[in-house]
């Protein structure tokens, strides 16, 4: 009787359970990933290699120096896209492959809280890698920053992250239905997005409607706004006004997070009905 009433057997429900689930799922992302030092090393080195390649291409073309800064920023932001792609979108697929997904669904917690935990943990852990890429890139290639508004910069970054991870949560639901094609789909969403979102060049260089279409990826407008705010010539190469980009990012944030909730509920029901929760098609 004592054991039942002790603090260890207390049942958390409602928002307390929701919050605890978020923290529990974020924990391995923030703490666990840092324990695998070789992974941290690779996740910093890999974007740095891409940054070096594109910087040398610009140097071979004798490009103005601000383009080097654009590449360094793009390289840092690739860490977030890769995290969303491989550790958010594909995550429920991996969990299915390793047999954890059924446990998630059986447990008396919200799947939305699990996704939020994954997003929060992924965001924090990836931010550390992105900072490392920015610092190394800045030191190696002598990039100069000139921030015009720290407040706007903070707002753009946070909104871009919320919208991006909201998109990741939406995609996670879709990936839940994938089998062997999940890996290829995630792989396919790398280079085309690097191109369309202007990771290594100003998005303004693309035709207007292409850039407008690519703005559905939050990093497109996020990077464009940040480039305008941190580089002296950024405003000249900006796609839209920073204020407009902030408003669009805010709308995307709300829409993506809200849609992900409905999509997750729908897809989970569909996956349960069609028996896809425990299937493993290798």
């Amino acid at each position: 009787m004592n054991a039942v009433s002790s603090k260890y057997s207390r049942k958390d429900t409602g928002w307390r359970l929701f919050l605890k689930t978020i923290i529990a799922r974020a924990y391995p992302r923030v703490i666990g990933q840092q324990r695998e030092i070789s992974w941290v090393l690779f996740e910093v080195v890999m974007p740095m290699l891409a940054v070096c390649s594109y910087v040398f291409v610009y140097r071979a073309l004798k490009a103005p120096e601000e383009y080097i800064g654009f590449v360094v920023m793009g390289g840092a932001m690739t860490a977030f896209w890769m995290n969303v792609l491989w550790s958010m979108s594909s995550q429920l697929y991996w969990e299915k492959e390793t047999g954890n997904l059924a446990l998630y669904i059986m447990a008396p917690n919200s799947m939305m809280a699990i996704l939020l935990g994954m997003a929060l943990g992924g965001m924090v852990a990836t931010a550390m890698r992105a900072v490392a890429v920015t610092v190394f890139g800045t030191l190696m290639f002598a990039v100069e920053f000139e921030v015009t508004s720290y407040l706007q910069l903070f707002a753009v970054f946070m909104l871009a992250m919320i919208a991006l991870y909201g998109l990741g949560m939406m995609m996670a639901s879709a990936f839940l239905l994938f089998g062997r094609e999940a890996w290829h789909m995630a792989n396919l969403a790398q280079e085309p997005i690097f191109l369309a979102s202007g990771f290594y060049f100003p998005i303004k260089s693309l035709p207007f409607w292409v850039a407008a279409g690519a703005s559905i990826i939050p990093l497109t407008l996020g990077m464009d706004a940040m480039r305008q705010l941190v580089f002296p010539s950024g405003f000249r190469l900006g796609f839209l006004d920073v204020r407009t980009e902030i408003i669009i990012l805010a709308i995307l944030s709300v829409v993506f997070v809200a849609v992900s909730k409905f999509l997750l509920a729908y897809v989970e029901k569909l996956a349960v009905r069609e028996g896809r929760i425990t299937e493993s098609r290798r």
Partner: protein, 284 residues
């Protein structure tokens, strides 16, 4: 007997690799996947080039960058393909131990898996080059191509890449948790040091010797020269060398890396067997 075992190992591995690479979806999506990914990679460079030169695609630097990037697809496909087979079979399909006890020759089996990636890589290379010729005016004249030099260079290069892949496969055998990164990191490093998309002269002085030691540098240079001779020879990096001299260096370095790769694989294979790593899964 050894010959037939090797040939069977290679043939079946190549067929298995092709099925794994291609039958995960319907042919339409597979075609889209095969076309969109390499073209997007090339398009990033084209846009960067176009912005800075304001659309001057007549410069000799453009075919240098474009063709270098197109043929570099083989590095990612063949070299990484051979080493990735270890990760795929051990961690994903959990069949590597069965391959080890089957009457096949493991290094040849792994090379066969790379052959499948060579086919998918070739599709990407051909599409990328055709797009460049048709839409971006890459100055490729069929009548002016040195086909003999091109064929010999391509063959030597593919064998060299496959052997480098075997070296990485050996390292992968003895590695846990981060083996997936090994091939990608090596390919990304070679991209910088091979002068794939910029002449080696752009690198800082102290880094250039690494590029001169890499067989991929000479391989890409010869491929460019065989396709667009006068354009490729405009860059100072290897302009003092004749085609035959570069081919000689490529052969010498390929032989050197081939021998090193076989030895490294042999040592790593023994270590992996001794330490029980052949069937180890880490769920990463």
């Amino acid at each position: 007997m050894q010959n037939s075992t090797s040939w069977r190992s290679f043939r079946m591995a190549a067929w298995l690799g092709w099925l794994i690479e291609s039958n995960w979806t319907d042919p339409f999506l597979f075609a889209v996947y095969s076309i969109v990914k390499p073209l997007s990679g090339a398009a990033i460079l084209v846009v960067m080039y176009g912005i800075i030169t304001q659309g001057n695609f007549q410069s000799a630097l453009f075919p240098y960058i474009y063709l270098g990037n197109a043929f570099y697809i083989y590095v990612g496909a063949v070299m990484t393909g051979v080493s990735w087979a270890v990760v795929d079979d051990r961690e994903h399909y959990k069949t590597l131990k069965y391959m080890y006890i089957a009457p096949i020759y493991i290094p040849v089996y792994l090379l066969g898996r790379g052959a499948a990636r060579f086919i998918t890589g070739s599709i990407a290379v051909i599409i990328t080059i055709l797009t460049g010729v048709l839409f971006l005016k890459v100055p490729l004249q069929v009548a002016e191509i040195d086909w003999l030099l091109f064929s010999v260079t391509l063959f030597v290069g593919i064998v060299m890449l496959a052997m480098l892949g075997l070296l990485l496969a050996g390292v992968t055998l003895t590695t846990a948790r981060h083996e997936g990164f090994i091939g990608e990191a090596t390919a990304a490093t070679l991209y910088i040091f091979s002068g794939a998309v910029f002449p080696l002269d752009v690198l800082p002085n102290w880094l250039r010797p690494i590029g001169y030691f890499m067989p991929t540098t000479y391989w890409l240079e010869l491929l460019r020269r065989s396709l667009v001779g006068n354009v490729a020879q405009a860059f100072p990096t290897l302009s003092n060398f004749s085609n035959m001299q570069i081919l000689g260096i490529l052969l010498g370095l390929s032989l050197f890396f081939g021998i090193v790769s076989l030895q490294v694989f042999k040592v790593c294979d023994r270590i992996a067997r001794e330490r029980g790593m052949i069937d180890r899964t880490t769920n990463y």
